[in-house]
Symmetry: C2
Subunit: 650 residues, 2 copies
């Protein structure tokens, strides 16, 4: 005991021990010290690590305050017992996973499985088991035995032992015929899994996902708190943004007046900066009503960060160190510095602002060459690019042609030529008819186009060309990987995309809209373009991309109230709707900037799940419905009256 006290040290802990040892806690402390060796081993088994993702550092989680069985009516978890426990009296609790011949039971909990042995002649025990449905909750007391050598299961963390039961209690009986079994090989389809989520959560995979999520987010918080950031909770019931689509509304008892549910804490966090909370963060619930987009949730979680008296570099450095610190132990290497590319580079090389840098095959610019044939140029924003896949990846079968055609159909201002090049000579002949023989020949000569490759060439509106080829680049690699090839590099590939444009043209209205949001600062070098050529203005905005997905985005914000007014004017947003922001900026507001992580997406990638729904305890389905409770649902006449609304059932 002294050993532990001295190891743990600290006035506070000593005082804690003094207090608790004077109370009923003493036996607990003793139990846990007796089990330190076992716990130690437990924490080092790979199975345990996989589920728990515990820090390997021996000193971190091993002191006796943190016994996993404390406060519980068990002495060990079902994943904990080893041959070193042989002879010990133990108490286990868990789910009846399996039983056979009234003799063997497999007991399961969140931490593993343990085999229980029943004396067939003990009629009291066998009677309890008779007709007891699987998944019932039982508590077993007994003695740890070594398994006979031939029965040792090395794949199981408790495979060396079994527990001879002398007392068995049914804590809660399950029904027969549950909607599905907790068997990996009998996995139910997703709608059923979501309807009975409490069954689905029992699978090791879901246990791992939720536990990894908890630990990752805690480490992020820990890093930020250590760095003097202040965790501030901001409201979710806010003012409806005029014309703010995608915002849920909440009727109130004031007739005709509604809250809206925030899409992000953006305005609040900027007010915190003006309010001298110079380092802010929050794991914030956000709401967005876009049920139509697949893999989106009406509510989602964001790690939201904002800092005063900083600049873009300060924020990027903070994020790099944050991810290094919080990086899950189950992933091999933690990131250090992330490559930075500009938005323009990303578009030109990858055809997207979310480049998947796990494979090469960058786009190549042949605009100038194709401009040689004026017949091809039907637009001012003309661009011509291609992407070539080498011999070993050259497969242009019917299936992939179909995939590519479907992608291509979404672009009406870009023409696509897809070619299996047997010999460049033959290809020049063929493609020469379209491009002109001279252009085709130069293409082959100048760009290292070789035999037996697959090549996609697109030309027309430059933005569409880039986006089209960016999509093809990814879809073609997906197609190859579905055939069993390995194209993408292993691991997690992070990169910063910088210098986003400040504005873009709305596809619906054709007018200027913010690429990020209206509070984003223009790049200081481009401010002179605001009045003359706003689409050319770069923003101090940045995205963090992981394996081809945006996982975080942020910007330096406008802190000058007149610049903010000018930008609102350009965006045709009425100043008075943002008066509280303009006032705030004029009240003494430090320069500031921040970033927000989409935690659901980040976790989904780190954990390698196919959907973000697998890292969310109780997700809504693709329609925004909750199959478990049946939400949304009708309300009563009383509610309608209380909230001064009438449902229009059309």
């Amino acid at each position: 005991m002294t050993r532990f006290l001295s190891k743990l040290g600290g006035k506070r802990f000593m005082s804690f021990m003094k207090h608790t040892c004077g109370t009923k806690l003493v036996p607990q402390v003793q139990v846990c010290i007796r089990n330190m060796n076992e716990l130690n081993r437990l924490y080092c088994t790979s199975k345990y690590k996989q589920i728990y993702l515990i820090d390997e550092d021996e000193n971190t989680n091993l002191d006796c305050r943190y016994n996993i069985n404390k406060y519980s009516c068990r002495s060990h978890t079902c994943g904990q017992l080893k041959s070193s426990n042989v002879g010990e009296r133990v108490v286990l609790c868990g789910w009846l996973e399996y039983h056979r011949m009234n003799k063997f039971i497999v007991l399961r909990d969140s931490y593993g499985e343990t085999q229980l042995l029943i004396n067939e002649k003990d009629s009291q025990l066998t009677k309890i088991l008779e007709n007891l449905p699987l998944e019932s909750i039982i508590q077993a007391k007994g003695t740890v035995l070594s398994r006979p050598k031939e029965m040792i299961n090395k794949k199981q963390s408790t495979g060396e032992i079994e527990v001879l039961v002398n007392e068995l209690k049914t804590l809660n009986k399950a029904k027969h015929n549950l909607p599905f079994n907790i068997r990996e090989f009998q996995k139910a389809k997703e709608s059923l899994r979501m309807q009975y989520r409490y069954l689905d959560l029992r699978f090791p995979q879901m246990q791992r996902n939720l536990r990894a999520r908890s630990i990752l987010i805690h480490k992020m918080r820990e890093f930020l708190i250590n760095n003097h950031f202040v965790d501030v909770e901001t409201p979710t019931l806010f003012k409806a943004t005029p014309g703010g689509a995608k915002e849920f509304i909440v009727p109130t008892r004031f007739p005709g007046e509604f809250y809206s549910l925030v899409q992000s804490p953006q305005q609040f966090k900027q007010m915190l900066m003006a309010g001298a909370i110079d380092r802010y963060f929050q794991v914030a619930r956000c709401y967005r009503d876009e049920s139509s987009r697949s893999d989106r949730q009406p509510e989602f979680t964001q790690l939201d960060i904002e800092m005063s008296f900083t600049n873009m570099n300060g924020i990027l450095m903070l994020v790099e160190e944050l991810l290094f610190y919080a990086w899950p132990e189950f992933l091999d290497t933690a990131p250090v510095k992330f490559p930075r590319i500009t938005y323009q580079e990303a578009m030109e090389s990858y055809g997207t602002d979310k480049p998947d840098t796990r494979f090469d095959f960058k786009l190549q610019d042949c605009t100038d060459l194709l401009k040689g044939n004026q017949n091809l140029v039907d637009t001012e924003d003309f661009g011509a690019y291609f992407v070539q896949f080498p011999k070993e990846y050259a497969n242009l079968n019917k299936r992939v042609k179909e995939i590519i055609s479907n992608v291509s159909a979404r672009y009406d201002k870009a023409k696509l030529v897809k070619s299996k090049i047997n010999t460049t000579k033959e290809w020049v002949d063929k493609i020469g008819k379209l491009l002109s023989p001279a252009v085709a020949l130069k293409l082959v000569e100048n760009y290292n186009i070789v035999d037996e490759t697959v090549l996609f060439l697109a030309y027309g509106n430059k933005n569409e060309v880039l986006s089209l080829l960016g999509n093809i680049r990814v879809e073609y690699v997906n197609f190859l990987e579905n055939l069993g090839m390995t194209i993408r590099k292993d691991g997690m590939h992070l990169s910063w995309v910088l210098d986003f444009p400040l504005f873009e043209l709305s596809k619906e209205t054709g007018r200027l809209q913010s690429a990020h949001h209206p509070f984003t600062a223009p790049h200081p070098e481009d401010i002179h373009l605001l009045a003359t050529d706003p689409l050319k203005v770069r923003a101090l905005a940045y995205d963090l991309v992981l394996n081809g997905n945006e996982i975080a985005g942020g910007s330096v914000r406008i802190h000058d109230p007149s610049l903010q007014e000018a930008v609102l004017d350009l965006l045709n947003i009425k100043r008075e709707t943002m008066q509280h922001i303009i006032d705030m900026l004029g009240s003494g507001c430090p320069p500031h900037g921040g970033i927000a992580f989409g935690l659901d997406r980040l976790l989904s990638i780190l954990l390698g799940t196919t959907s973000i729904r697998d890292v969310i305890a109780f997700p809504k389905n693709f329609e925004g419905r909750d199959p478990l409770s049946g939400a949304p649902s009708p309300i009563s006449k009383e509610d309608e009256k209380l909230y001064h609304i009438k449902s229009i059932k059309t």
Copy 2:
């Protein structure tokens, strides 16, 4: 540097240092090591501690990863510089708090104030200051000087030094005539403070409140994570409870169908227990529409905990250790074990289930005595109690009589007699006319009633009598303390209240309703009373009371599906509305229980604020309105159409 590396230790950190030292971070690391001594001192000043509530342990926050100026364009905060910094070149950022004679500036940030010295002859510098409004944001570079001896300000953490400025930059100009000044002695009224919350947050008091909140909640999380609890986020968009008053509703794009905003994660956390997340917690946003009750917020924060395979004692022990661990450093003593009293004891002694145990003056039971006069007994549930205040607290002036009468007016089944007892003899004569002389005499003799005291006697319906006297007990003490007396003991007084009744009668309908909620387990000793005398059934429910306020409440839950059905039947709740809970309990659900803390209330008490609004960054006002943004507000016709509703403006 080696000294720090070895001190910090850990493979991971070494690797971190190796990586970062190979990059641009090196200068940062050096800067911060150079400043270690200063930081050290900073952390030990009492002013800093007051604002920051930093752990005293020298090793905790002092390594160079956690330099408070990292990622920032300042070298020190405005609360950091000491005489040991004299001669250093520094960069400070902050708010222009004050300037005088173009010579002195007081610069303020979240951490303190620093006096800047301007060379009056430097026309470039003085020009910047000319007409620069207070609260403007400036950056100053300069050299630290010792203040002349007579100018040293011992009350200020930076009172030993001033900074001779050689470069001054206005980072953001404030407007003249802000709505109010950041001066303690000119504090604005609350509505204005809320409207310009970003100004209000600059006051040291609000800084302290928000920062203390952040640290307390983080320590709670840390304790729970260390103890293998899993932080699981549960949805806030849920199914509307049939007849669930107080629930906000959220219209969806499905005509006539609504989400509701959860009042608590209760149902989800129970499903997590069935889903083998055997130790759960969440700092959860909850919603309740009861704008009419003062000091309530439509959204509030709860620390929500649930555990499987445990019992009531396990949960109480967990909470005691949690609070010990997370207890704020700025409060002297951390709690260890909390006294436990039953609901019945609390009601009989304090007339409330939230006893303020900071002072005595318990209620005394004289029911049997008063029953001696059958004329007084007009009800079956007859009770008679009194509370007596000794000589030194005996003051029954007009003001307090009025207060007491107002309290008394809320009870129509309890009669109150308030007496200033000059001599007991005189009082027996007077009160004898009401109680009968014999009863009055016995009262004085048997209950130690003495001269020169104040006594409140009530009789009638027992529950009303207790509640009335419980209120008087508190109001009378409030009255005395408002006169300047000290009655309540200092500090934080925690106690558990146990054995709550399972049911109570609804005042509106006269029918059974849950005292806690429908999932609360009945006390095993009282289960036989469910069918025969349900109001007598105790629950396995518990509240944690701090200085007369409920700060947490919880219960062991029902895990048996048929018991749950029986309780729903008793409560007249249709089983099918809770079918997902009944199914869940029947799917293999461990015995479980939990608790939830009201964090806003807890923080308000720990920080000694007059309102919970002072521990919330952006509170709504008593009507549920947000004076800052103007929420709630009207919505557009498009929104009405999108959500298939029509506002009825009545």
